[in-house]
């Protein structure tokens, strides 16, 4: 399964890689440091990802701005996008659902909890029928 991981924090990227490495299933992770980079990846003509994991607080183009652009795109709007954030701001959560998301996951404090949560998310999407497949 191919994942587009949009995240500016190096350690967060390390956390995902470490979590994924412990799983049996193979994941192809494409990284983007912000919304602009992510759009560039999506429009490069390369094979599209199966799901997008999106952080909200990023420099240059925030997660919400990226989401708006994505959902206006006739083709890209079908990509399941799961928000992965530290923000417990209810306004952010409501806005994301308004624009259109496939999930909203809050990063827990402890790494062990993070691993558990992420494994569940990836498990869930693994058993889903995906647009591209």
């Amino acid at each position: 399964m191919k994942i587009l991981f949009i995240e500016d924090d190096t350690i967060e990227t390390m956390k995902l890689h470490r979590t994924v490495s412990k799983l049996q299933m193979r994941f192809d992770i494409v990284e983007a440091k912000n919304g602009e980079e992510a759009l560039a990846v999506l429009r490069s003509g390369d094979e599209l990802p199966d799901i997008i994991l999106l952080d909200l607080n990023m420099p240059r183009m925030s997660g919400i701005e990226f989401l708006r652009i994505l959902k206006k795109d006739d083709k890209l709007k079908y990509l399941p996008t799961i928000v992965l954030t530290t923000s417990e701001n209810r306004a952010d959560l409501l806005e994301c659902y308004r624009i259109g998301i496939a999930g909203y996951v809050i990063k827990p404090l402890k790494y062990a909890d993070y691993e558990l949560k992420l494994q569940k998310v990836l498990d869930y999407w693994s058993v889903n029928e995906l647009v591209k497949a």
Partner: protein, 530 residues
């Protein structure tokens, strides 16, 4: 002398005799006539005399019987005659003393008196002479006199007669009225309200405040119609109301409208119009009272603007709190992950001390994360954020029992059925959860009880949470509600919980206080406005 001659003489003598007899007869008749006439004259004379005396006595009667004081004076003001009423009024009697009327006149009226007398001499009569005089007892009287001259046979004026009316009382009333009018004028002129009297859309009178407000003089105002000082686009409404007033359907109304000053600037004013009607109910006057509220309105607008800014700034602050908390929490997550990995990846090289230090690091990270959460929660408790719905307080307690950690030996019980109130569910949950979780972890007795009860007052709901824990020393009763003030010795305590509680209670216009006895327990009481 011949016979003939004798005969002739005889005849002549005869004729003479006859003529004498005849003359005697005529004389006799004439003298009788004369006597008759004399007699008649005598009679007529006595008749006239009677008539005259009759008339004289009649006149005397009239003179005495005039009710008003009546005085006759010579041209040097000395009284020649006066009736009883005059004697009573003036206190003088001309038969006993000389009275000079000029000397009775008050000095303020002297000049006027002299000119009035001159006019009397010229015209023969004088009407409506009014003056203040002193009567004999020294008191002052106001008199009104109508008088005329009396002439002799040669048509020379020799005296003047006049009727006096005592108008003291009338003058007093008139002075009183003048004084009252003056007082009323003072009140009206000094009123902070602009007042104008309007007749048929014309301003007939206005006080100084009105004139100063609009910058017009009296004369200029009199030429103006109400519409000249109004905004054209606002006329329709006031015209409608005026029509209603004229038709008798309205006695007063109040509108807020603009006025144009003489210099062209405008002002916003609250205007009250009252109708003054005549006996038939037709509007005689309209009294307009105008209060300049330009300043007031400006202040209101300013206030509105400030409120908006405050709202925006509050919103900004909320955003800010979220961003700051996010930016503080992200590195904490990274630190936590790194510490975990150190522990996992370097198990072989780490001794017990190293493992312990990493564990301590995790605990500190956890503490800081809680603190950030607490601050964020505290800052998000604002009136704008309240979402109202019907909240069953019993259910809230049930929910809390399931969520929080309650030691096995502690029971959380509801003493009476709690009310269902229109409130913000999340905030009420926060409120009870903070108090209850404090209570349950501080009980060292074998059987711990946390009892929740409620009672209703006229204006508030009062709730109590009673525990049999170790109690809170008196000196902390105030302090515990302040942010970052923790009295527990537990390291996990952030000191925010009860300040959140206090902030929520404040939001509901309630009070919070506590009773506590060391080793017996604590009861928190708080109220929520209905």
């Amino acid at each position: 002398m011949d016979n003939k001659e004798v005969i002739l003489l005889r005849k002549a003598l005869d004729r003479q005799k006859k003529a004498r007899v005849q003359a005697e007869k005529i004389l006799e008749r004439k003298s009788k006539d004369l006597y008759d006439v004399t007699l008649h004259l005598k009679h007529a004379n006595s008749k006239l005399e009677n008539l005259l005396s009759e008339k004289t006595s009649e006149l005397d009667g009239v003179f005495i019987n005039i009710i008003d004081p009546y005085v006759v004076m010579d041209l040097a003001f000395n009284v020649i005659n006066m009736n009883l009423s005059a004697k009573e009024f003036l206190g003088y009697d001309h038969t006993k003393e000389t009275i000079n009327l000029e000397k009775l006149v008050h000095k303020d009226y002297m000049e006027y008196t002299i000119s009035s007398f001159r006019s009397l001499l010229e015209l023969g009569t004088l009407k409506n002479y009014k003056a203040k005089i002193y009567v004999k007892d020294g008191s002052e009287k106001y008199v009104q006199i109508n008088c005329s001259l009396i002439y002799n046979k040669e048509h020379q004026p020799i005296a003047a007669q006049g009727i006096i009316r005592d108008v003291t009382r009338e003058m007093e009333i008139s002075h009183l009225l003048t004084e009252q009018k003056r007082q009323l004028d003072i009140i009206i002129e000094n009123s902070p309200l602009s007042i104008a009297l309007v007749v048929a859309n014309k301003i007939v009178k206005a006080n100084n405040t009105f004139k100063n407000l609009l910058g017009y003089s009296d004369a200029e105002l009199k030429k103006l119609c109400l519409k000249d000082i109004s905004f054209p686009e606002e006329r329709e409404e006031s015209n409608k109301l005026m029509t209603l007033m004229e038709s008798g359907k309205l006695d007063n109304f109040s509108i807020t409208k603009h006025y144009v000053r003489k210099d062209g600037t405008s002002l916003l004013a609250k205007t009250s119009i009252n109708a003054v009607r005549d006996e038939q109910g037709v509007v005689e006057y309209q009294v307009a009272m105008i209060e300049d509220i330009t300043e007031q309105r400006n202040l209101e607008l300013q206030k509105e603007k400030l409120m908006k800014e405050l709202e925006a700034s509050n919103q900004g602050l909320q955003e800010y709190a979220h961003i700051v908390s996010h930016d503080l929490k992200s590195p904490l997550r990274s630190l936590s992950a790194l510490a975990t990995w150190l522990n996992e990846d370097y198990k072989e090289v780490l001794d017990d001390n190293g493992v312990f230090n990493l564990q301590m690091m995790q605990e500190r990270i956890e503490g800081m994360d809680k603190l950030i959460d607490g601050i964020l929660k505290y800052s998000s408790i604002t009136a704008e954020n309240l979402e109202y719905s019907l909240v069953d307080f019993n259910k809230i307690i049930h929910d809390i029992r399931e969520i929080i950690f309650i030691p096995k030996h502690v029971n959380v019980i509801i003493m009476n059925t709690l009310p269902t109130i229109n409130a913000d569910k999340t905030k009420i949950h926060q409120l009870f959860q903070n108090i209850i979780s404090n209570a349950v972890v501080n009980i060292e007795k074998e059987e711990g009880v946390v009892a929740i009860s409620s009672l209703e007052t006229d204006s508030h709901w009062q709730f109590s949470v009673k525990d049999n824990g170790k109690g809170i020393p008196k000196e902390y009763h105030e302090k515990i509600f302040k942010i970052f003030q923790s009295v527990g010795d537990k390291e996990r305590s952030t000191g925010i919980g009860l300040s959140i509680v206090k902030k929520i209670v404040d939001l509901y216009e309630g009070e919070i206080w506590l009773d506590s006895a060391i080793d017996e327990g604590t009861t928190f009481h708080f109220t929520i406005k209905k």
